[in-house]
Subunit: 306 residues, 2 copies
Amino acid sequence: MSLTVVGSIAFDSVRTPFGERERMLGGSAVHFSLAASFFTTVRAVGPVGDDFGDEELAVLQGRGVETDDIEHVPGGQTFFWRAHYDHDLNVAHTDDTQLNVFGDFEPKLSDASREAEVLFLGNIQPELQRRVRRQCGARLVALDSMNLWINTTREALAAAIAETDCLMLNDAELRMLTEEPNLARAARRAMDLGPEIVVAKRGEYGAALFTGEGFFAIPGYLLEDVCDPTGAGDSFAGGFLGYLDAEDAERPSPEAMRRAMAYGTALASFNVEDFGTERVARLTREEIEERYEALRRLTHFDLAVT
Amino acid sequence: MSLTVVGSIAFDSVRTPFGERERMLGGSAVHFSLAASFFTTVRAVGPVGDDFGDEELAVLQGRGVETDDIEHVPGGQTFFWRAHYDHDLNVAHTDDTQLNVFGDFEPKLSDASREAEVLFLGNIQPELQRRVRRQCGARLVALDSMNLWINTTREALAAAIAETDCLMLNDAELRMLTEEPNLARAARRAMDLGPEIVVAKRGEYGAALFTGEGFFAIPGYLLEDVCDPTGAGDSFAGGFLGYLDAEDAERPSPEAMRRAMAYGTALASFNVEDFGTERVARLTREEIEERYEALRRLTHFDLAVT
């Protein structure tokens, strides 16, 4: 078992009603890797600049993430994002985006990364996702995207989606992609594009899973202290795919996918408890199991076995 | 066991992307009564005008609802509401509200209604809810309200809430009432007002239950065909409280409340499948049990017994 993720590696400056941080480690590949690292071996692929150093690498390596495919671009600056959240923590207000080294990124996977059994194509330009996809023969390929690519590169995104097994989008993005306001219908239309699995991320409301067998939904863990939601979706994906990679089956079973939804929800709930990667970086597997169990108590209304 | 509900009895004219209806039977007491009627004996309390006749009574009586406390106001017109929904079915756009006989409503409960063990104070003016409350010594009293009363009669509403055991609001209303954006904190603050049980209705995302023992959440049933969401919240409350009345315990157990959340969710999901009361009026208990079981499959990720 092994998992490769391609996505952004970033510095994020974020302000929420609960505080602010300047240039913290972030990006989809980072949040995903840290979450998935509790379940499997993760290889992170993405470019960084001269401003990215040993301190940042240490956060990833401290969780056992393989960083050989993090490409240092000499003279370049790392991707930068500045945003703030008001009281509605479901909505990020972007104040600045600097692509920097990501503008000319041409992904090159090492042999180890190519041989991964599970591949996560984090939210980057769809053409880049396709180039990574072609380099990797993973048994399970999942893809995330965003409104920007739905609006500007819809054809390339549809082609990228067609080449994947699992589409993971916010529910609003899924509705936008399919132009279908009903979530269950939107998921079915998305499956018509190719993927056998569709996961709708629903922010604080949790997530829903759609497959040929039917659907499944899990509410978000109801926290009294939410600090910073940045990266929650990628942490969800990391918990979900990390668990499925560890299950090590050729095709994930319906039961494994449900448990993976719960692990994804658990990881996302930890992610938002502190700024950036701070909470997940100091997380333990024991805490994850405790929250998985708490989620079970929070969601099961009838404990009788079928 | 017996359940009394006071609330609006109405004619609703509703347009959704899937069609429209003129002057259909509606109102909080009607939707609630029909949903609760599958579990217990329900008595509906509220005023109607000359335009309310045998056809409307027959819908309620067809489900065994006791209609003796539906007060006919000679020369009056029944409460009327006109609204439309766009593609976001979570948002009702009110086009017209005519209080009519509701403007001078002075609730008078019959002895049978006073002796109910469970009382639901549907969304009406808080002072009216208090007057009903004083007439009824129910072991379990639940209350619904809305943004209008939060904004215009906050003190009276807080007093009404203080006299109840269970507060049932939309999550946005719960946040507004407590001025607390975090749902779990908002629920705790609402419990500080008096109720031991707080239910946050979350539209298509389901509902969350907060008690001294902890919290529980259930996602909405993911339907491909949602026709008209009017009355879904009251159908939820009817399924929830109807089941708890049937359980017939002095205080509802945590397990009973979780199952009640699932029955409420099931009833709400049927409610939205057709216009107004049409789907619930032709529903069977067998269909409810099937959906309860489907909800179990939709939400349980781990069927092992603790």
